[in-house]
């Protein structure tokens, strides 16, 4: 009798857990249209081939501005971008820490824009950076570092506690992608082929001071140490986007830090002409992010730097690796073609439902 009761309880608990797990899947945002940025982080874990020479980490300045497929085509470099919208430096650090559990890249490229944020900014960005990570110690530490005062830790462990109220806004997208999401990035690169030329760059605000927060340095130090410990070359970059404004004072501080720590630092804003970026054709949001054309130009330029500075193998002659990357290329070019077709037909990227205010995501 007692055994039967225990068994019944266990079955009931199992049914409850399965029901809640299903509801969680159903209620969590899928990020398959409109705000695609929320789907970036989780794509890495579905990647079968987790062997990369270069890992990019950072915010939109990496996932919108570098094309791993181009790096492969031009230099045979295998790369992946672990970026998310307004990824904060501690999120980048913990994401890197976690990535290193899966693989050991030769080079890690970190975009330094997030040094300007010493505090968590917005729950939505936290969610995009954290919800896609599987449960791990790194994730727990990242949650703890990222939470805003009105957020609850447990809601990151059981996201249904955060998204429970979405039941009345479920759409076809939620049903369609409840168990399986479609792939939307190219090794973390979010493709956009549309063009919105640069008109005017907003004037930079004068700041009360140009110090980076101590916490940012703390995590940058951690990142440096983590890379050293794992024999990884860390490269600091600042993507060539015109705003949010990157102040000269900030640039000096990063240069000084790079010098002190013997790191490569490239502020691509200083190389715009050399790269060949033309903000009348190479940006989809008037200078905030690069489009495919700009990203490919930047990738070609940066790939050369990587090749010259680090001993990166060209894998294009490796049949096994080439096969994998050929598949990626097919997906890359078919999406490129699709996007151009849509632009021609509708004047905007219809199936990507991208008509929103681009400045929301940075």
């Amino acid at each position: 009798m007692k055994r039967k009761r225990v068994l019944n309880i266990l079955i009931a608990v199992l049914i409850l857990v399965l029901t809640l797990a299903f509801l969680e899947k159903l209620l969590m945002p899928k990020y398959m249209t409109e705000i695609l940025e929320g789907a970036l982080i989780s794509e890495y874990y579905k990647e079968e081939y987790k062997e990369h020479d270069v890992i990019f980490i950072g915010d939109c300045e990496v996932y919108e501005n570098f094309s791993p497929v181009k790096l492969w085509e031009e230099y045979g470099i295998r790369s992946f971008i672990r970026g998310s919208a307004q990824q904060l430096i501690w999120q980048s650090y913990y994401l890197l820490e976690e990535t290193l559990k899966y693989e050991k890249p030769g080079v890690v490229v970190f975009n330094v824009l997030s040094m300007k944020y010493g505090k968590p900014q917005k729950e939505a960005y936290n969610r995009m950076a954290l919800d896609g990570m599987p449960l791990s110690l790194s994730k727990l530490k990242s949650i703890k570092a990222s939470m805003l005062p009105d957020e609850e830790f447990i809601t990151y462990i059981f996201p249904i506690l955060r998204y429970h109220s979405r039941w009345d806004e479920l759409s076809r997208e939620d049903i369609e992608y409840v168990f399986r999401k479609r792939k939307i990035t190219h090794n973390g690169y979010l493709m956009r082929v549309d063009v919105k030329p640069l008109d005017t760059v907003p004037r930079a605000k004068i700041l009360p001071n140009y110090r980076f927060d101590d916490i940012c340095y703390e995590y940058l130090d951690k990142m440096v140490n983590l890379c050293k410990k794992n024999n990884i070359e860390l490269v600091l970059i600042k993507a060539p986007t015109l705003y949010p404004h990157w102040y000269d004072e900030w640039d000096e501080k990063i240069k000084e830090y790079a010098r002190e720590n013997n790191l490569l630092y490239y502020n691509f804003l200083d190389y715009i002409d050399e790269i060949g970026i033309d903000f009348s054709t190479d940006t989809y949001d008037a200078g905030l992010h690069l489009n495919l054309s700009g990203a490919e130009k930047l990738s070609v330029y940066f790939g050369k730097i990587l090749k010259e500075n680090f001993n990166l193998t060209d894998y294009r002659n490796d049949d096994e690796v080439r096969k994998i990357w050929e598949r990626k290329k097919v997906f890359y070019y078919s999406m490129k073609e699709d996007q151009y077709k849509e632009l021609e037909t509708y004047g905007y990227l219809k199936s990507y439902n991208i008509r929103r205010e681009e400045s929301e995501m940075n």
């Binding site: 009761r5 019944n8 309880i9 079955i11 009931a12 049914i15 409850l16 029901t19 809640l20 509801l23 209620l27 729950e123 009105d150 957020e151 609850e152 447990i154 809601t155 249904i160 506690l161 955060r162 429970h164 109220s165 039941w167 009345d168």
Partner: protein
């Protein structure tokens, strides 16, 4: 630590596991420690206040009790040696000492409550009066109101009065007494327990009992359902309507008052369900505080079924004390002499009633709206009592007293009357409350209900569906309850049904509960009392 916080749920889980893992003789000690852990979450300053109440009440009640036992042994030792007058004189002297101890303890503890809760109300009124003559204003004080102070003060004062009246001897173990005063599930919003009732199970050693645990968990889940799915969802609409009296008048006052009735019921009874459920999981029996009050056919009956522990507390410790006081005796004599036996004998009863309702009003909050609310309740009860012979005649004459429709009318009338009185609670301002009440009859804007304005009060269509379903379930459960415990009935069903109920409740609470970011985190309404 709010009942609906994740911290509290974690706290409960740990407590339940440890409680049944340690030797049973230490269970009450663990509970005492848990009380202080729970209480310390609201700030260590608060712990000081409750500790002062515990110590002062313990010392006074022990002394009162010792005087009783001293008196008993003295009288036993001197049996037959004392004349009747000497015995009476001795007893009177003991009673005087006990009374002195009682009064000191009452004044001290009720004084703390009064100072913390009512000082600013007094200053507000002084400023209003002074404002008529000068521009000088007394500054308000920044006083801390410890969590649940009204509840634990009333509970401990009830205890000492019982000891004084010789109902039971004082508890000798200060730890156990502290546990009684600070028992955490009821610390926030009651019920106000009696020592002789709660101590029967509070200090006992408890075995792990499947029935207690399953019944307790069911009750907790039901409480969470009421609180999170109904009360906290409707809260936004209530706040929107009552927060903007210029914009929401007429029919919206009516809607607001009905919504508030639903919110208050779901919130308060939900909290009590959680309290009783937690206690039951621990093997402790806490008294019921509600018996389907919205099914009452009169205000008097309503108050016998709503917040029962508070009503009986005021009846036992205020009403009886006031009505048998020397002052009231004198009034009784005078009124009988001047107004005749029939009317005169009612005067002290009604004066005591008014006193009780004044106290009930001010207990609910230190503002005039609560005082007026309390007094109006008392007034309606007195008027209904006076009209009872007429009602009886009317019912007999037209033979309608026992028809279903008439009973339904009585229930609806009582419900609407209580809702109307609660407008004072909604708007927290006597003037606005009366203006809003009148607007229900003068501002005919019924058409606005269908013009989309109902979707501007913080509720979407989907919220209305959830609320409708929630309220239907609430009424349905209440109807079943009339024929006995729902959980007992459920226990007779197959295990499949039990577990289905658990799963449905948990899923409903998690999915349809109004909690987390996007919802106002809302304390239980009765926390503030």
């Amino acid at each position: 630590m709010l009942f609906t916080s994740y911290n509290f749920i974690a706290f409960l889980l740990i407590l339940f596991i440890v409680y049944y893992s340690i030797p049973k003789k230490y269970q009450w000690v663990l509970l005492l420690a848990a009380n202080f852990v729970f209480y310390s979450f609201s700030g260590w300053d608060n712990v000081v206040f409750i500790t002062v109440t515990i110590i002062s009440t313990y010392i006074s009640s022990t002394k009162i009790s010792n005087l009783y036992s001293g008196q008993a042994s003295f009288l036993k030792e001197n049996k037959g040696m004392l004349s009747r007058e000497e015995r009476k004189a001795y007893k009177d002297s003991i009673k005087r000492k006990q009374k002195l101890l009682l009064i000191i303890c009452l004044l001290f503890n009720l004084g703390i409550l009064a100072v913390l809760k009512y000082t600013n109300f007094v200053i507000y009124n002084i400023n209003n009066v002074m404002g008529m003559f000068t521009n000088v204003e007394l500054p308000f004080l920044n006083l801390l109101l410890p969590m649940g102070i009204s509840f634990y003060t009333f509970q401990s004062m009830g205890y000492i009065m019982d000891v004084y009246r010789g109902k039971y001897p004082a508890e000798k173990n200060i730890g156990k007494f502290a546990l009684f005063v600070s028992f955490f599930p009821q610390l926030i919003q009651g019920p106000i327990s009696r020592f002789d009732d709660l101590s029967k199970t509070l200090f006992k050693e408890h075995d792990l009992d499947f029935k207690n645990i399953s019944f307790g968990i069911q009750r907790i889940l039901w409480g969470f359902f009421k609180k999170l799915v109904i009360a906290d969802r409707i809260l936004t609409a209530v706040n929107t309507i009552t927060g903007d009296p210029d914009n929401y008048q007429g029919i919206f006052v009516f809607i607001g008052m009905i919504f508030y009735a639903i919110q208050l019921y779901a919130d308060f009874t939900g909290g009590i369900d959680i309290t009783i459920g937690i206690a039951q999981v621990l093997g402790i029996k806490v008294q019921e505080n509600f018996i389907r009050p919205y099914f009452s056919k009169s205000i008097k009956e309503y108050w016998r079924r709503w917040h029962i522990s508070m009503g009986t507390w005021f009846r036992d410790y205020v009403f009886y004390s006031v009505s048998v006081s020397q002052f009231m005796m004198n009034i009784s004599k005078k009124s009988r002499r001047k107004l005749g036996e029939k009317i005169g004998k009612r005067v002290p009863v009604y004066l005591s009633t008014i006193t009780v309702w004044f106290a009930t009003g001010i207990w609910h909050g230190s503002s005039w709206n609560f005082i007026v609310w309390g007094l109006l309740n008392g007034l309606i009860i007195i008027v209904s009592q006076e009209c009872e012979p007429f009602y009886a005649w009317f019912h007999k004459k037209f033979n309608i007293g026992h028809t279903f429709l008439f009973r339904l009318f009585q229930v609806a009338r009582t419900f609407l009357l209580m809702c109307s009185l609660r407008i004072l609670d909604c708007y927290r301002n006597v003037g606005i409350s009366f203006r809003m009440f009148c607007s229900m009859f003068t501002n005919w804007n019924f058409s606005q209900v269908f013009s989309g304005k109902m979707l501007e009060i913080g509720l979407k269509k989907s919220d209305y569906y959830v609320l409708l379903a929630g309220v239907i379930i609430l009424i349905w459960v209440s109807l079943i309850q009339r024929k006995g415990s729902v959980r007992e009935k459920l226990s007779l069903k197959s295990e499949f049904v039990h577990y289905a109920v658990y799963i449905i409740l948990i899923v409903a609470i998690i999915t349809f509960g109004a909690y987390g970011i996007g919802y106002d985190s809302n304390q239980f309404i009765y926390n503030q009392f």
